[in-house]
């Protein structure tokens, strides 16, 4: 099993996590910019953080054979602090970097007017830089927040195929699927989504345009839950090819739209199952 965790905050994780992830089959990760638990109070703190996402963190990941890409943005929570608003001016220069393959994670936290503005502005940045967007849905008032998220995405004019709406559950998956956006699910030890519930959703909706992530960060989370979900899929009768689609080819296709995803030094999988969508189409 090869795994691309399409949403994980490695900055908050240890090198032991990298070692365990590599041993379990995680070959690539996408780290979106988010908040760090302690609110920041000036743009310089963000510049240092973004620099670590394009500098130190990919280097640390590479020591364990894991390819690290990032998504850059001003998160909605800190966007509400006027002292951090100037971070928006920093973002364009990061979007040009080779390792930055998306804008994210953006979206709503408390659904304030400021969040409306900052969300729309960053969707516009995604369009002008030719990057996909990773959109987080709020924890509180999720169903309403998801609807409003999809409205803003539609108004922005961005192609829904370039948008991944994340942290979905049984209640919100349908409307996102109908919108044409990609659907993301964060598997957490207790909240959000469990491996078994994920399998049930995959049975109902199929594996197309579904991405599964651990969203592991500084909170109670587990970077191996992508792998656990893959095993739960196999136990439920999904094929290895279905697992590969969800845990590898879907994230590769979504972030690959940036034209900057570089997996050239990731070893090809062993065995004869369809390793790429091209081989799959021909067989």
């Amino acid at each position: 099993m090869r795994v691309f965790d399409p949403h994980i905050h490695m900055t908050s994780r240890t090198t032991d996590d990298y070692r365990n992830m590599a041993a379990a089959g995680v070959r690539a990760v996408l780290e979106p910019a988010f908040w760090l638990g302690q609110p920041r109070t000036n743009p310089g703190s963000f510049a240092d953080y973004f620099d670590s996402l394009i500098g130190w963190e990919p280097y640390r990941a590479a020591q364990f054979g894991i390819r690290h890409h990032s998504a850059i943005s001003l998160n909605p929570k800190e966007a509400n602090d006027p002292r951090c608003r100037a971070v928006l001016d920093l973002i364009p220069r990061y979007l040009d970097k080779d390792g930055v393959v998306a804008v994210g994670e953006i979206g709503y936290d408390s659904m304030t007017p400021v969040e409306d503005t900052v969300f729309a502005a960053q969707l516009a940045l995604a369009r002008s830089y030719g990057l996909p967007a990773l959109v987080h849905t709020p924890h509180r008032d999720k169903a309403v927040g998801t609807k409003r998220t999809l409205d803003v995405v539609a108004e922005s004019g961005i192609d829904p195929g370039w948008v991944l709406v994340d942290h979905l559950n049984e209640v919100t998956v349908r409307q996102v699927r109908d919108s044409g956006c990609w659907t993301g699910f964060s598997i957490y030890p207790e909240t959000k989504m469990s491996p078994d519930r994920m399998v049930a959703i995959l049975k109902e909706y199929g594996p197309e345009r579904v991405l599964v992530n651990s969203a592991a960060d500084w909170g109670h989370s587990d970077p191996l839950l992508t792998v656990v979900t893959g095993n739960a899929m196999l136990a439920a009768g999904f094929s290895e090819d279905d697992v590969d689609l969800v845990l590898w080819r879907n994230p590769v296709e979504f972030y690959g739209q940036s034209g900057k995803l570089d997996l050239s030094d990731v070893p090809k999988p062993e065995g004869t199952f369809a390793g790429s969508s091209i081989a799959r189409g021909g067989s």
């Binding site: 394009i54 500098g55 130190w56 990919p58 280097y59 220069r93 040009d96 970097k97 080779d98 390792g99 034209g259 900057k260």
Partner: protein, 201 residues
């Protein structure tokens, strides 16, 4: 290595025209360097330049953009900004290009920045030919840091020429510490230590 050598290595590259236009763009509008420098590697690629294994097409293209940028009066500030706002590959490209830019020792602070990191690629790049502008204590610290990080010492420019008794003492102390702990000392460090102690006796 000169800009003309790099140009010769890139001649016939499928994106040659992109590079020529980018150089002209930077000469006309130095602020354009940020975007062009960031895009140069994915445009020109990461293949080694024929006969010049230390250089890739992308890195050579970035060096030529810095040559174009160095025509500005505030060249040192601008080159420093390209470095500080760069990702790791951009920073390495700046460090590698420094010896061919008309800036004397003015960019030495960038070497100190790179030597402070824990990234083997940056530390190695800081000890290339431009390290001639690094003071001797910092240079010794850099060499010993290479040994600690497992960076092969052939990354260090003019190693034997510059190695002195101070470096020999630091290497000897490191070797003693490692041996006491039952740990290996890299062969190239031991060989250097032998050369230094032989020439001293």
């Amino acid at each position: 290595m000169t800009p003309d050598d790099l140009r010769a290595g890139l001649l016939g590259h499928p994106k040659w025209d992109w590079l020529v236009a980018a150089e002209a763009h930077v000469r006309a509008d130095p602020d354009a360097v940020a975007t062009l420098f960031a895009r140069a590697e994915r445009t020109l690629g990461r293949d080694p330049l024929p006969g010049r294994p230390q250089w890739t097409s992308g890195r050579a293209g970035r060096a030529l953009l810095l040559v174009a940028l160095a025509r500005t009066p505030d060249r040192v500030d601008r080159i420093t900004t390209v470095y500080t706002q760069g990702d790791t590959a951009e920073r390495i490209a700046v460090l590698q290009a420094l010896p061919m830019l008309p800036i004397g020792a003015a960019a030495a602070p960038l070497l100190h920045d790179a030597l402070r990191t824990n990234d083997a690629r940056l530390v190695a790049a800081a000890l290339g030919p431009y390290a001639a502008h690094l003071d001797q204590p910092s240079w010794r610290q850099g060499v010993v840091k290479c040994v600690f990080m497992g960076i092969p010492l052939d990354a260090v420019d003019r190693l034997d020429e510059r190695a002195d008794a101070g470096l020999a003492a630091m290497l000897a102390a490191l070797a003693e510490e490692r041996t006491a702990a039952g740990r290996a000392v890299p062969d190239d460090a031991l060989a250097l230590l032998h050369r230094l102690t032989e020439s001293a006796s």
